[in-house]
């Protein structure tokens, strides 16, 4: 649905539904915290960002018939070959890890999660925060660039303020 939707706004909403299903799989795998993060981050912010960008770059809304390029058959072939080979690999590798009942999968509590995150994984956590800050500043600079060329004096202050 995300791929075959005629209108791109519809496919953004289908993507939200797909992400919700992924969150449900996380709950099935007893990763409740991760499901919450998935709903908050993806459905809360990523979908909103994508829809904002769609509204801002509203060009060929009516042009919905020709949304694919002319490599359709080739790409479908590649995807099918990859899928079939993955299934063959799963079949021959004999992964038969079965959770015999639901209690054998341990529920990861948020306490354990936070304890490990702030003791063993402190450095990656800090690196991730620096990466988020860099991405924020970079996206603001990228989105402000054209305006700065047009009116150089005022928008510098604006970009600095919106950064905070």
């Amino acid at each position: 649905m995300v791929i075959t939707g005629k209108h791109i706004l519809h496919s953004a909403f289908y993507l939200a539904v797909t992400l919700l299903c992924v969150a449900i799989y996380f709950i099935m795998l007893r990763a409740q915290y991760l499901a919450a993060v998935q709903i908050l981050v993806y459905i809360g912010s990523v979908i909103v960002l994508i829809i904002f960008a769609l509204m801002l770059t509203r060009t060929n809304v009516g042009d919905s018939t020709n949304i694919s390029n002319n490599q359709k058959i080739f790409a479908a072939l590649i995807a099918m070959v990859l899928f079939v080979s993955l299934v063959i690999v799963f079949y021959y590798s004999k992964i038969n890890v079965v959770a015999e009942n639901s209690s054998s999968l341990k529920i990861v509590s948020m306490k354990d999660f936070a304890g490990i995150l702030f003791s063993r994984y402190t450095l990656p956590f800090e690196v991730a925060s620096v990466l988020l800050l860099a991405a924020l500043v970079g996206s603001v600079v990228l989105a402000m660039k054209e305006k700065k060329e047009v009116e150089s004096g005022h928008t510098k202050k604006d970009s600095g303020e919106s950064d905070k």
């Binding site: 995300v2 791929i3 791109i8 795998l29 991760l34 993060v37 899928f83």
Partner: protein, 109 residues
Amino acid sequence: MLFQNGLELKLVYFLIISAVLFCIGMYGVLTKRHLIHVLLSVELILNAVLINLVAFSSFTTPDKITGQMFAVFVIVVAACEVGVGLAIILSVYRKKKTVDINNVNILKW
């Protein structure tokens, strides 16, 4: 609670779901012409990776949560990627007045 009556939860099911998501996302990346559509397909691929990470972590090593930690960092990096990607798409749109991927050849020499 969820799987009491005969249904069993296998790792292979999650792997197959993840493979399906990955292949759909790759098909989308290869075929779509709209730039934001390509970004949506990349999100599908990242979610396939997330399902794989969490499934392997909670089936093979249920007492450690390394896989889930990796998944959290993958989510963080995906959020960064969406932000920067959308900013790039916005600036390309301001420059070229189009979001068709066939017309975006600024980097071509």
